[in-house]
Assembly symmetry: C2
Homo-oligomer: 353 residues x 2
């Protein structure tokens, strides 16, 4: 016991999915994109002048904010960027959840939410998803300090309609409602809550480059909301770290946004692979809520989730397993390439033969 | 007034030095390095596979931590890395300053300290520097919740001896003492408090790639301390953002550390320019505490600080001016290249002729 230890902030950190090293492994455990970033990213990298690294980057991240504002047809003062959507969500928790009332989120959801609440001493309560893993909007109508949920949800991959989202927004005009849309691009066009931005000044939509844009390694997330919400987040950001986005992130990130055609092609390929995988999993007897994300949350009535997880692991096929109440029979399987899914399905077919 | 506004965290953000755009300007306002990063950085950039960006980076930042541990001859479990030293210091404040007692730092110092204290609701008290802008160690001997000071101090550029640092450590074994060494490499060999690491488990030394390593644009800072201190910081980091260091930072940062010869050459050039600049400033009647950093904190008995700052600005020469008690007559002038300092000094010579 060190003398200073009683002044240390106690916390139970989030556990990220493992990052196994080596070749010949199939990595379907952290919902990464199997395809490389847009080709323009390589070109921007090649022309990036490393001499410029001696200077601080633009603290307002102008080039990246501008690219996102143009892409999503929102004002530049409606975009906040951060070091992955985890950074963005963390800043949003710290900025907006300062009442003494509990923040609400589903019982089965992104497991970082309770961690941020704990580290920032924010009270919270969970609301159980129904038996089909769906959100019951009326659970979120009571007095509360704010609301956050992913759509599609993780790890269930369930998408809630914009009607459900709007009901929650409508009943909570006096608190900030964060819709965490890390996987929204896999749900299809017109599914994002961005549509509701003009109508609700209490809506913050959070998205990321880590999934549909193939850039988990660059660490870029962003939030969109009314200018007052974004200004409040920037005030907090400038109270923690003025320069969060480094030069490579700014330049390569901005470029990635510009190539809409490549982005749409990759997303379409992943969705096609997902639909084929759903059919094959169902044919084998797997059960899963309908996935609108780049992963499938599946269980098998005849096999323990943990057993399957470990059997796959022995074959260097990595999926995600959560040893938690209600979901300890499930595997969260990232949708990779057709070839990767073939290997996975072949394994299941042999294992269950 | 939005309905949700009463739940927003109020804060007065840190104001970073301006980032003027354009060519033909002389930028001596944010203590950047006038020389580019080590040549190996360009080579690493060129071989970096952008295809790897689709994957999450190593959350433990292994390649960068290993390079730093080897360079500084400390254990890998003694190194923490973050998105610039601002990120590292912010995590350290949140991790270590959790008593209800005030944290202590000098009245004239890095102006981010009170901002972090405010955002994290940490009580603090300042201790005045003496008339020569020096720390009086006995000011830090009372009961407190932790201590932080830069060495060399900013914006004064004064270096405090390791005897002074050790006195403060010795009298505060029950709290964490953070020595913020952003500018230490310009003070000379053997001046870092790293020497005291083995002796004091309450010492955290923070350094950065933004100054002596010419990489402000890559956002890399690091802290070194006993393994228990580093573990506590990592627990907090993993409670905020699992993956803070992106792939370019990991690869280029690790490479920069390896080229000791280039690093030492650049630092020596800046120190030589600093010494020449001191002589020329003194000859013109400027007064300044002796600088052991890559900037000089100077005032002139016959000219208002603000007047000089604005006159320089009209010539596109940017220095830093702080409109604050005790230091509102001073300019903080970054040491650039010999050529840049020639332009600056020629301006002063003509202005004061």
């Amino acid at each position: 016991m060190k003398l200073w230890e009683d002044k240390v902030r106690r916390t139970v950190p989030y556990t990220p999915g493992e990052q196994p090293q080596g070749t010949n492994l199939i990595k379907l455990n952290t919902n990464e994109n199997p395809y490389p970033p847009a080709p323009g990213v390589e070109a921007v990298k090649n022309t990036m002048d490393t001499g410029r690294l001696r200077l601080y980057p633009d603290p307002s991240a102008g080039v990246l904010v501008d690219a996102l504002a143009e892409y999503y047809h929102v004002g530049k003062d409606q975009v906040f960027v951060g070091v992955g959507s985890d950074d963005v969500l963390s800043v949003a928790f710290l900025t907006f959840f300062n009442s003494q009332k509990p923040v609400l989120f589903p019982d089965i959801t992104y497991s970082f939410y309770p961690v941020w609440a704990d580290i920032y001493r924010i009270p919270y309560e969970t609301r159980p998803l129904d038996e089909d893993f769906r959100i019951r909007p009326q659970d979120y109508y009571g007095d509360n300090g704010g609301i956050v949920f992913p759509n599609p949800n993780a790890p269930t991959a369930c998408y809630e309609s914009l009607e459900t989202v709007e009901e929650i927004l409508k009943h909570n005009r006096d608190v900030v409602v964060i819709v965490d849309e890390a996987y929204i691009d896999f749900a299809g066009d017109g599914k994002s809550a961005l549509k509701l931005l003009d109508k609700y000044d209490n809506l913050l939509v959070v998205q990321t480059f880590s999934k549909s844009r193939s850039m988990a390694g660059l660490r870029i997330g962003y939030a969109m909301g009314c200018p007052e919400l974004i200004r409040a987040m920037n005030d907090v950001k400038y109270s923690i770290n003025s320069y969060t986005m480094n030069l490579p992130s700014l330049l390569m990130g901005a470029e990635a946004v510009k190539d809409k055609a490549y982005f749409e092609t990759c997303v379409a390929k992943i969705k096609a692979t997902r639909e084929k995988t759903k059919e094959r999993l169902a044919a084998l007897g797997f059960e899963f809520p309908d996935s609108q994300a780049n992963f499938i949350f599946a269980k098998h009535p005849d096999y323990e989730g943990k057993e399957l997880f470990e059997a796959l692991r022995r074959q260097s096929i990595f999926v995600r397993y959560f040893d938690k109440p209600r979901i300890d029979q499930y595997l969260r399987i990232t949708v990779g390439t057709d070839e990767q899914m073939d290997v996975l399905m072949k394994f299941f077919e042999e294992y269950m033969a």
